[in-house]
Amino acid sequence: MPFWFARGLRRGVVTTHYPARPDRSAALLPTPPAFRPRQLTRAAADRLVAVCPSGALSRPDDALIFDVGRCTACGRCAEAAPDAVTPSGEFELASTARSALVKKIPIYGETR
């Protein structure tokens, strides 16, 4: 008994303080991608749409539509276009409106 007591004292409280203070483990989470519009061309965007396994990406016209709700943070888009896609680091994504999770990403690569 004294051993686990001493060990417990040494390690301190393991419970996160999350809503009050940020949790360090959040940095390790896989997160949805963020895009760099200047690096995106229409062809590159179409490649990303094709590579997304959960249908989170679409390109109905001259912009990339990213449905965060459908994203599984698998990282395949970041693998397909590492210069245009990077992990966003956002995990606090709860939303009361489904439409707030659908984001429009402009494509600037063409006009450069």
Binding site: L29, A34, D67, A73, A100
Partner: protein
């Protein structure tokens, strides 16, 4: 509770919800500010969401410190935590579970399946929890981490602010400008 809180989503899921949801959230912030009971509902998920939900009770996350509790009975629940793509065979059971929860109540759709990713609608799945239940809070992730679930619960009871309306998912212009 006011009797109207049972009806909004039942007949017309997905319509006129924002107003009702706002009223509901205000009520819930008052009623359940410090104590909220959660009933989980698996509508055909792969059980990884359940794994993350179970972790909420583990020492690291310990959701009881925030006044959230799991309950095995819908009649005792305030919040319905739904996972999975809503298998069609489960639709009726989901509706009954929702009906069994006394108002005011909150429905939280959890995970990419529940939000319409992964499984498109087909003869076997609705492909979206919103097809059957009036969802108040959407929590993306595959699976959503316990931290994301905690934030979702905070948003559901009005204790935490939503961040999503402000997020663009466009990487910082300085990085993009520097490279291109």
């Amino acid at each position: 509770m006011s009797p109207s809180q049972d009806t909004p989503g039942q007949d017309t899921p997905g319509q006129d919800l924002s107003q009702a949801a706002r009223q509901l959230r205000d009520t819930i912030a008052v009623q359940f500010g410090r104590s909220l009971h959660i009933r989980t509902l698996d509508t055909g998920s792969c059980a990884v969401c359940e794994q993350e939900i179970r972790l909420l009770s583990a020492p690291h996350y310990d959701l009881h410190r925030l006044g959230f509790f799991f309950t095995p009975a819908p009649r005792h629940a305030d919040l319905l935590l739904v996972t999975g793509p809503m298998v069609r065979a489960f639709g009726e059971a989901a509706r009954k579970t929702y009906k069994a929860i006394p108002g005011p109540k909150v429905v939280m759709a959890t995970g990419a399946c529940a939000l319409g990713g992964v499984y498109p609608a087909d003869p076997f799945v609705h492909g979206n929890v919103g097809e059957v239940l009036p969802v108040d809070v959407w929590v993306p992730g595959c699976p959503p981490s316990p931290l994301a679930l905690l934030q979702g619960l905070g948003v559901a009871v009005g204790r935490l602010a939503e961040k999503t309306p402000g997020l663009t998912f466009i990487a910082g212009q300085d990085i993009a400008g520097g490279a291109g």
